[in-house]
């Protein structure tokens, strides 16, 4: 056997001798507990609580599954309660309208005479939502770029906080503000200019003195979805690895080129996701739109005209629906809204997830 060279400290007390520790060491440990047997007996007598653990586990799973339950519940209730409209009107509800034989004009929505068509509401929802995206997206991306790449550190906290706060303001308050501040402002100052400069497109005509309509709805929607889009865009941009930025900067790029090539290009899928998420919010937004869109079930070429939206007509007429078919038709609109928002949100979540996966959520 080879005799191993062993350093002398190996089987000895530590060299680092600290006085208090040494004093402790000299004190012999207390004798075993007098209650030793009592404590041990008690613990040994405790069951393995397999039943409690099992019950708890099942309960928590049930709570988790309730999320699916809610979706199924909503879907089944909506399908069930819109049954009458489906059987009476069918899918043509969404594309066919009743034309008044005496005037030759469409009569889309006439609960008294039993004519129901969702066309003006689908139109209003689409126009106001898309218009709001046109207004909000460039601004939201600008804000996100400013916050992530340019903002002095001292402003970042307050601005992020403000964004968070804005996302939490109830739509009724946006609506209230829109009715008393935004609509008069648009009516007095902005709409006349739109008519003057863009009237030739026939998209803006001055035959609506109220100021309510698609444009007002779109502006308030834009203000409401801006925080959502910009904060998600910011999250996606932050998820772009630092090395990407450095790689572009190392090639001698200016800051804008770095942002464009290093950040936006890598984050574009996620940004599209953020925009779609904003669209989802805009499609389903109810109170603020109801308060400023005018609530007339008609279709006009002018964006300044009164209109209505899917959510708005439900909010307006549901509680006082004139009959079962009327209510059923409203529920069918609700079902369409549900399906569309589910699909839109799912797409958006997947796109955002594709970009941010692997990076833990940033605590702002």
């Amino acid at each position: 056997m080879v005799k191993v060279q062993v350093p002398e400290i190996r089987v000895s007390r530590p060299k680092v001798q600290i006085e208090p520790a040494a004093a402790d060491a000299k004190r012999v440990a207390e004798p075993p507990f007098a209650e030793t047997s009592a404590v041990r007996k008690f613990l040994l007598a405790r069951g393995n609580s397999a039943i409690m653990d099992g019950t708890f586990h099942v309960l928590m799973v049930v709570c988790g599954l309730s999320i699916f339950g809610i979706v199924i519940l909503i879907a089944s209730e909506l399908v069930l309660r819109s049954d009458l409209a489906w059987s009476k009107i069918g899918f043509s509800f969404f594309y066919r309208a009743y034309f008044d034989p005496s005037t030759g004009l469409p009569n889309y929505w006439d609960p008294v005479n039993g004519h129901f068509s969702a066309i003006p509401f689908v139109y209003g929802t689409l126009v106001s939502s898309l218009l709001s995206l046109v207004l909000a997206v460039p601004l939201a991306i600008g804000v996100a770029v400013f916050l992530t790449e340019m903002c002095p550190g001292i402003l970042r906290g307050p601005l992020a906080f403000l964004t968070e706060l804005l996302a939490a303001i109830p739509s009724i308050i946006y609506g209230l503000w829109a009715v008393f501040v935004l609509v008069p402002l648009l009516r007095e100052h902005v709409n006349p200019m739109l008519v003057k400069w863009l009237g030739w497109t026939k998209l803006f005509s001055d035959d609506n003195p109220t100021g309510l309509g698609y444009v007002s709805a779109a502006v308030i929607l834009a203000i409401m979805i801006l925080p959502i889009i910009s904060s998600l865009t910011r999250e996606v941009m932050l998820a772009v690895p630092h090395s990407q930025r450095e790689a572009v900067l190392a090639l001698g790029a200016t800051r804008w080129e770095m942002i464009r090539m290093g950040v936006l290009r890598n984050a574009r899928i996620g940004i599209v996701g953020a925009v779609i998420l904003g669209l989802g919010r805009a499609l389903g937004e109810t109170m603020a739109v109801t308060m400023v869109i005018g609530n007339t079930p008609e279709i006009h070429r002018s964006l300044l005209a009164n209109g209505s939206s899917m959510a708005a007509v439900i909010a307006n007429e549901f509680a006082e629906a004139s009959g079962d078919l009327h209510r059923s038709a409203l529920i069918e609109i609700g079902l369409a809204l549900f399906v569309v928002t589910i699909v839109v949100n799912a797409i958006a979540r997947i796109l955002v997830w594709v970009v941010t996966r692997g990076t833990p959520a940033q605590a702002h």
Binding site: V4, P14, I18, N48
Partner: protein, 252 residues
């Protein structure tokens, strides 16, 4: 008082990774046994198999038998019952951050439903004395949070917490690796005192520490136990060439 541990054909997997292969050994009662080896050799996995903590990870798997005293822990009992008999001290001090010092020590009993306050007071005091922390904290037992102590104090608090349930075996997974030299020496002194009453298994990457506190030492390498013998023998005259290489610092 402590009991012995007998491990037969123990194998453990972590996913598809075979982290422990055919481990057989007898750990004597009321002594300190050290497990050494390079990092990733399976020594931590091994102690975690002794109180069934290994299986808390969903992808982990264990086969073989472990007898603690005469209890077959994988066949005759549920994990919670084993863990009440086998205390564990982790690598990083992990006191419960929301609890006072007192509640931390009493937690093992309180959370298992023990309510006798007079006995709890006594046990907390004795456990803290046995972990050499009593003099430093006796004045603010219920005032200070366990997380407000220093790292070394926190680790001794965790030892007190483990002692309070009066375990038969005390497992220590590199208990001093996150501590400064002063705190390390206090912990070693503690092990020295406690081993007369408890069967102690200590994992360490520090060979001097093993030599200082343990009667027996096992050397692990690549998921196998290469050698298990008296500490003196391992450090002066190991049988296996690989043990010799390791303790003389030729690798790892």
């Amino acid at each position: 008082m402590g009991v012995g541990i007998e491990v037969t054909d123990l194998n453990a997997w972590y996913g598809t990774n075979h982290t422990l292969q055919d481990i057989n050994l007898k750990i004597p009662a009321n002594q300190a046994t050290a497990l050494i080896g390079p990092s990733g050799c399976g020594k931590s996995t091994f102690v975690r198999c002794l109180n069934r903590m290994h299986e808390t990870n969903p992808i982990a798997r264990v086969t073989g038998t472990v007898l603690i005293g005469d209890l077959d822990i994988y066949n005759d009992a549920k994990p919670v019952e084993i863990r009440r008999r086998v205390g564990m001290v982790f690598q990083r001090p992990n006191p419960f951050p929301t609890m006072s010092i007192y509640d931390n020590v009493a937690s093992g009993l309180k959370l298992n439903g023990y309510t006798n306050h007079r006995v709890l007071d006594e046990i907390v005091e004795k456990s803290l004395k046995n972990s050499a922390l009593w003099d430093e904290v006796k004045d603010d037992l219920k005032k200070k949070s366990g997380a407000s102590l220093s790292g070394g104090q926190q680790q001794r608090l965790c030892i007190a917490r483990a002692l309070a349930v009066d375990p038969e075996v005390l497992l220590m997974d590199e208990p001093a690796s996150a501590l400064d030299p002063v705190s390390t020496s206090k912990i070693e002194d503690l092990i020295f005192q406690l081993k007369s009453q408890y069967t102690i298994v200590i994992v360490t990457h520090n060979m001097q520490q093993a030599a200082r506190v343990a009667e027996k030492t096992g050397f692990f390498l690549n998921g196998r136990m290469v050698e298990f013998d008296s500490t003196h023998k391992i450090f002066t005259n190991p049988t296996d060439k690989r043990t010799e290489d390791y303790i003389t610092g030729r690798f790892g």
